[in-house]
């Protein structure tokens, strides 16, 4: 799958797993901030943990903890890049 396809899949995963009812997955911007009160999705640390678990399960890619995770979860693009990089490694 190309990176654009992966990003699209991740957006659907975020909406389904975090139960963001009524949210169109494709309305999530590739580079928009996902977490924090200013990000618009209202996601917090508990969502980050859930997302890390699901990504690990679906793609077999571990999300490290702490500051590294913060960078990976900065945006959908950053997550997709991390997943693609880790899978090709």
């Amino acid at each position: 799958m190309d990176l654009a396809g992966l990003r699209s899949e991740l957006k659907s995963l975020i909406v389904a797993e975090l139960n963001l009812k009524g949210r169109d997955p494709q309305s999530i911007e590739d580079d928009g901030a996902l977490f924090g009160p200013a990000a618009g999705l209202g996601l917090d640390s508990l969502d980050a943990l859930q997302l890390a678990m699901v990504i690990e399960e679906k793609y077999g890619v571990r999300i490290p903890e702490g500051d590294e995770a913060r960078a990976i979860f900065a945006s959908v693009r950053a997550i997709a890049d991390h997943v693609a990089r880790a899978r090709s490694a």
Binding site: E17, K21, G42, L46, L49, Q50
Partner: protein
């Protein structure tokens, strides 16, 4: 009147018994080691503090119940209290209950879904089992309450005990908590990344989480006049307390600690003391990155400059976080600190975090010249916080016993009838049954804000919100108490099945907090911004009655001005299958398909209802409860006050007819709720909502609601205001 602690019992990872715990506790010993109780393959962290030598006295006992019996027996023995000779109550706080044993049954059911033995055995481990076991072994008790508020359960058991003593309904109360370690909690806390890979280090800059523990603590609390009459001596006095909800987040504490700070202030004020009288704080101190600085900030805010003098420590570096037992175990430790004038340390703390500036007790404990007042703190998932203040006897204020009258100001029932307020509830028993009826909670919720709520919590929140709408009030000064017979069994089963299939790393961090019995209550307080007392109760088929009666008792004792209380009984596939496997021989219960029901009533003190000009539906004239034999309780059943009295029942019931025979209510008409709503364990709370609504509508002047389940019962008398 004063409330004395006259007995203590402890079972902790440091040792079984008060003395077996105390020596190692003061020395700074630590009991956090690799888990041996079950396989920890695939767990991120496999350290915890286990209790050794837990041996069941018979089949069907959970570890949680065994530890509770050990601690409760010691508490009664040290108080030299003969349960049979007096009116003694029992309050058990817990969260995990028999989950360790249930996990083994779930594993069997995972492999063989129709395994009848495993299904039938599931019935042995509802949350109520511990109270029932203690009743059989140590009782009979005049009343038994089972409550859950996650990690503040044990502390809230003590607050409930205080409310019972203040309203003069019992002479003494055995109150505490018990929680056993299990795969579900270890997997769940690991999923949250909340467990330190090293034994936990509260307040240390290197801390990375808590360590789980297990154990039990019980206290005997007694009115000083009753204790003096039998020449019993106090260990310490329970002088102050306060409970409330942060209404912030299901797992994370509000970082400013504002609610905790206000509870500390209220608890000290309730004791008639000031920060200058406080000589020690036993902190919640979990060792998680978020808890410890929040707690330090809250204590500084509440205690002011005195915080620079007052030693603070957390016991969790030694015994781990004992979850539902923690509030009771640490209350007992705090009472011992007062009695023995000896501080206990924070083990594991070597490099204090400047973000949590406190006077720490590092290394070993030490004797000091005096401990006048000491504070014990407990905070639970959902932000349910409780503060207790223990003092040396005689230091705190005397308190008067003058129960506040309690009234019903709003109701809501959600079930096959749709969503009904007081206007419709007045005629609910006469409504036709709609087998296809029900509500879609999402039609009534902001689905964005409700996204973390499971179906049960959604139903509960709708009922709580609409009871408040019916009462015409929306204020943070409101508590929530909901009863549920079995809790979230289906959610726990699904959580464990994922672990059986894919290993502990697949445990869902988002689902884990929803498995706690008090999670719907926590969600309701967060969603609706309610900051009053919040917890769940459980009492089999009378869980709704237990919640409502408990709320009345808390209001009567002045713990709150308003509490929404009721039953939350969502349909559960597993409960249906368990009951079908048990009762397949009994044709009466086959096909008794239980319907989802949530019923809530808004209870307020008469003063609060008056001051806000509320419409009063009915007044609560009397609540009674009993175990086994109802004779003594029903002897104080008042006769109807007005001309048109009715008995409102969940369902037609030969047992309640036998009880009413010979009372002043025997000839009154009967009204039942099951023909209109279908069968549910929540119908007892529906009956109370219906009774209040019929009084408000002028249909009747008085109502008696009788709720019965296995060897337990409640009676609630309502009258026109």
């Amino acid at each position: 009147m004063r409330l004395w602690v006259t007995g203590l019992g402890l079972v902790t990872p440091l040792g079984a018994g008060v003395e077996a715990t105390w020596g190692p506790l003061v020395r700074g010993d630590r009991a956090i080691r690799p888990v041996r109780l079950f396989s920890t393959e695939g767990q991120r962290v496999a350290l915890a503090a286990e209790v050794e030598g837990v041996r069941a006295p018979g089949p069907g006992w959970s570890r949680t119940s065994v530890m509770a019996a050990m601690a409760a027996e010691e508490a009664l023995r040290s108080a030299k209290l003969d349960v049979r000779s007096r009116r003694i109550g029992l309050v058990v706080g817990g969260t995990t209950g028999g989950m360790f044993e249930t996990e083994e049954l779930l594993a069997r059911l995972h492999a063989e879904p129709e395994c009848r033995d495993a299904l039938a055995a599931m019935i042995s481990h509802p949350l109520t089992a511990t109270g029932d076991r203690l009743g059989e072994r140590l009782g009979p008790f005049a009343r038994i309450r089972t409550l859950a508020s996650a990690c503040s359960s044990g502390a809230n058991a003590i607050v409930v005990a205080a409310s019972w003593l203040l309203t003069g309904e019992v002479d003494a109360v055995l109150a505490g908590g018990s929680d056993g370690l299990c795969r579900l909690t270890l997997s769940g806390f690991n999923a949250l990344g909340a467990i330190d890979p090293e034994p936990c280090r509260p307040f240390d800059i290197r801390r990375r989480g808590t360590s789980l523990g297990e154990g039990s603590g019980f206290l005997v609390l007694e009115r000083d006049d009753a204790a003096r009459a039998r020449a019993a001596a106090p260990v310490a006095e329970l002088a102050g307390w306060a409970m409330g909800s942060e209404a912030h987040h299901i797992t994370n504490p509000a970082p400013d600690g504002a609610l905790v700070a206000s509870l500390v202030e209220r608890a000290i004020a309730r004791a008639g003391l000031t920060a200058r009288d406080v000589d020690y704080v036993n902190a919640h101190g979990t060792g998680t990155p978020l808890n410890d600085p929040m707690e330090a900030a809250a204590l500084a805010r509440a205690l002011g400059p005195e915080i620079e003098r007052i030693p603070v420590s957390s016991s969790k570096g030694q015994i781990g976080h004992t979850l539902g037992a923690a509030g009771a175990i640490e209350a007992a430790i705090t009472a011992l600190v007062v009695q023995r004038r000896t501080l206990v340390p924070t083990a594991g703390l070597e490099q204090p975090d400047p973000a949590a500036p406190l006077v720490h007790v590092m290394g070993r404990g030490r004797e000091v010249s005096r401990i006048r007042a000491a504070i014990s703190c407990a905070y639970g998932f959902g932000g349910m916080d409780t503060i207790l203040v223990f003092t040396s006897p005689g230091l705190g204020a005397e308190r008067s016993e003058d129960p506040c009258p309690v009234v019903v100001t709003g109701v809501a029932v959600a079930g096959t009838c749709g969503l009904a307020g007081s206007a419709r509830c007045a005629t609910l028993p006469e409504s036709p049954f709609d087998p296809a009826g029900g509500i879609q909670p999402d039609d009534y919720l902001d689905v964005g804000r409700a996204r973390r709520l499971d179906p049960g919590a959604r139903l509960g929140v709708v009922a709580v919100e609409h009871a408040l709408v019916d009462a015409g009030v929306r204020s943070p000064a409101t508590g929530v108490v909901l009863g549920s017979a079995f809790g979230n069994v289906d959610g726990s089963a699904a959580f464990m099945h994922r672990i059986f299939d894919k290993g502990p790393r697949s445990a869902s961090p988002a689902e884990f907090p929803n498995l706690v019995p008090s999670s719907p209550v926590g969600h309701a307080s967060i969603y609706l911004g309610l900051q009053g007392p919040a917890f769940a109760t459980a009492d089999l088929g009378t869980s709704g009655e237990s919640a409502i009666v408990q709320a009345v008792q808390l209001l009567a004792a002045g713990e709150a001005e308003r509490i929404v209380a009721g039953a939350l009984e969502p349909h559960s596939d597993i409960v249906e299958r368990v009951l079908a496997s048990l009762f397949s021989h009994s044709s009466a219960l086959v096909g008794a398909h239980r319907r989802s029901v949530a019923a809530a009533v808004v209870l307020e003190t008469l003063d609060e209802a008056r001051s806000r000009g509320a419409r009063v539906l009915a007044r609560i004239r009397r609540t009674l409860e009993w175990r086994d034999d109802a004779t003594l309780a029903l002897a104080s059943l008042p006769a109807p006050a007005g001309p048109r009295a009715e008995v409102v029942l969940a369902r037609p019931n030969a047992g309640s007819e036998a009880l009413l025979d010979g009372t002043a209510w025997a000839a009154c008409p009967r009204v039942t709720c099951s023909p209109a709503l279908g069968e549910s364990d929540g119908l007892g709370a529906v009956a109370i909502a219906v009774a209040a609504s019929r009084i408000a509508a002028g249909t009747i002047s008085d109502a008696l609601v009788v709720g019965l389940a296995q060897a337990r019962g409640y009676a609630i008398v309502l009258s026109a205001p």
